[in-house]
């Protein structure tokens, strides 16, 4: 059982802040690190795995700092995002080399077990350069598991996987989590994370935006005010009707169309056609203004 603690960790590159005052505790079970691309997930994982010094704050594994302590790799298994491996060797040779580098007592047995676990035993004698993206991902996984680590860090592990491989990896991570290992993986897809992660840590623009189980994160995301852009025959009259009804908390006519903010999604979509008809306004276009993941996350940060 291992616990990874980030205490007020920041990291900046020149003027760019990649991680901003992040504190989190990652314990046994599966934790999902969720955030849009460029949110600083990789930077955070690099700091957790001892490959980047925090500019401020500290990262510790069971009380010991990870930066400049190669001994931590006895208990950490890392699945990096980079696809490059040692292309000129076979999967078997590569996983075996990793086992030997870890100085595990029986490298052959450990390598066999790890390759079995990721279902790569049959393809083990092919050169890594001939593997598909998903196969490479599984060999990477095998190299991370070969020394039976108590902490597993995975950077975007589902990238490039087909649905079957994805299910297999999810199942594997679930089993590893159930064994009491500390598993952390990053992703920018909420559905992926909520499927298996007991705890979700949301990272947006380098900041720790939210934390909790998936129900809490879901609620935070769906309860936020929804934005709509509407074009109609008479924007002013429709705006007045929406405000009077109370289903919109803010309307904005300055952009040449009608921008509406509605706190309750269900109530708004029922009220809008009714109000339009009763006030005699013809609706030309109704579109959700901003449903991208970024904006959902940005809302969480602004809270």
């Amino acid at each position: 059982m291992s616990t990874l603690v980030l205490d007020r960790v920041s990291r900046w590159y020149g003027n760019v802040v990649a991680a901003n005052d992040v504190s989190m505790t990652i314990g046994p079970g599966i934790t999902g690190l969720l955030g849009p691309n460029g949110a600083g997930k990789s930077t955070l994982i690099a700091m957790m795995s001892g490959f980047l010094a925090p500019s401020a704050g500290s990262v510790t594994l069971d009380g010991k700092p990870v930066w400049r302590h190669p001994e931590i790799y006895r208990s950490i298994g890392l699945v990096p995002e980079t696809e490059a491996m040692y292309d000129m060797v076979t999967g078997w040779q590569f996983v075996l080399a990793n086992a030997r580098l870890h100085k595990v007592p029986e490298p052959e047995a450990a390598a066999r077990l790890a390759l079995d676990l990721v279902e790569m035993w049959d393809a083990k004698d092919r050169d890594i350069s001939t593997y598909s993206k998903g196969m490479k991902q599984r060999v990477k996984m095998a190299t991370a598991l070969v020394h039976d680590p108590s902490v597993l860090l995975l950077d975007e592990p589902f990238n490039g996987m087909d649905p079957r491989q994805r299910l297999h990896l999810m199942d594997l991570l679930r089993r590893l989590g159930d064994q009491g290992r500390t598993v952390l993986f990053s992703s920018h897809i909420l559905e992926e994370v909520e499927e298996i992660a007991g705890t979700i840590e949301v990272l947006v623009a380098g900041r720790h935006a939210a934390s909790g189980d998936f129900r809490r994160i879901r609620r935070l995301m769906t309860e936020r005010p929804h934005q709509y852009t509407i074009r109609s025959a008479d924007d002013r009259r429709l705006a007045a009707a929406l405000v009077a009804d109370g289903c919109a908390t803010a309307v904005d006519l300055s952009a040449g169309n009608l921008a509406v903010q509605a706190p309750d999604f269900g109530r708004f979509v029922h009220a809008l056609p009714r109000l339009a008809r009763s006030s005699g306004v013809r609706l030309l276009e109704v579109s959700p203004a901003d449903e991208s993941l970024e904006s959902v996350f940005a809302y969480l940060v602004a809270r």
């Binding site: 460029g38 990789s42 490959f51 190669p70 950490i76 490059a84 000129m88």
Partner: protein
């Protein structure tokens, strides 16, 4: 030293396409040597010209650059070095293992061809081969150590290395005498000068610095490069994407 790192490094160096260059460059020197022998009839000064100019001036630093960047630079560039770094093993061990492979390769692919070129070109190679063999070996070790360090320190190691080896040592060294004092090639040449003695002076084998200074500086630069490379590898930042 770690046997697994040595093995992976060896395969990485010789298993990639650029390994062809490691064979082609020495072959070019040997081919030239054969031509020079045929044209000059085995005169010692022709051998010195070829080996000093093309051998020590071009082939040796280029090959060492290929090897020095090949044992670690490519892995740092594509990120696969992470598989070595994420192990409970001092980074010093990783670097020294890679350096050992680089040194062995430099002696085989850079220093040995120089000796062979002397043997092919000169009618009476004995002393000349020993002199240039020593110089080539010393230069190969120092160049390789410097280029390994350069690969760990900078992502532009190949370009900086090329500028140093070709521009600084070969071209600028020819115009500005002071630059000759700060040159691995000149330092290593003190060994050949010492072996050949008076005969060397007649052949034009004269280094810009004295023997103790040359050897001392070679040792200092090599040690400094190794220490710098180890220290830098200990804090090598690795991030991908964002």
């Amino acid at each position: 030293m770690n046997a697994v790192v040595v093995q992976l490094t060896r395969r990485g160096l010789l298993g990639r396409k650029r390994a062809v260059l490691l064979v082609l460059l020495p072959l070019a020197l040997l081919l030239l040597a054969t031509l020079v022998r045929w044209a000059s009839g085995g005169a010692a000064d022709a051998a010195v010209n070829l080996v000093d100019g093309f051998g020590l001036g071009t082939l040796l630093p280029l090959t060492c650059l290929l090897i020095g960047t090949g044992v670690i630079g490519t892995e740092i560039d594509d990120g696969s070095i992470v598989y070595l770094l994420a192990k409970p093993m001092p980074r010093r061990t990783i670097l020294l293992s890679k350096l050992a492979v680089a040194w062995a390769a430099a002696l085989v692919f850079a220093a040995l061809p120089v000796v062979l070129a002397v043997i092919i070109t000169a009618a009476d190679p004995g002393e000349l081969a020993l002199a240039y063999g020593t110089t080539a070996a010393l230069a190969a070790l120092a160049y390789t150590a410097v280029f390994v360090a350069l690969s760990v320190v900078s992502r532009n190691a190949v370009i900086i290395g090329l500028l140093y080896a070709l521009l600084w040592e070969t071209i600028l060294g020819g115009f500005v005498p002071g630059i000759k004092n700060a040159s691995i090639r000149q330092w290593a040449l003190t060994a050949a000068e010492a072996v050949l003695g008076e005969r060397g002076e007649n052949l034009g084998v004269v280094s810009a610095v004295s023997l103790p200074a040359g050897l001392g500086l070679l040792a200092a630069v090599t040690v400094l490069a190794v220490v710098l490379a180890i220290r830098r590898l200990q804090t090598l930042p690795l991030t991908s994407g964002d």
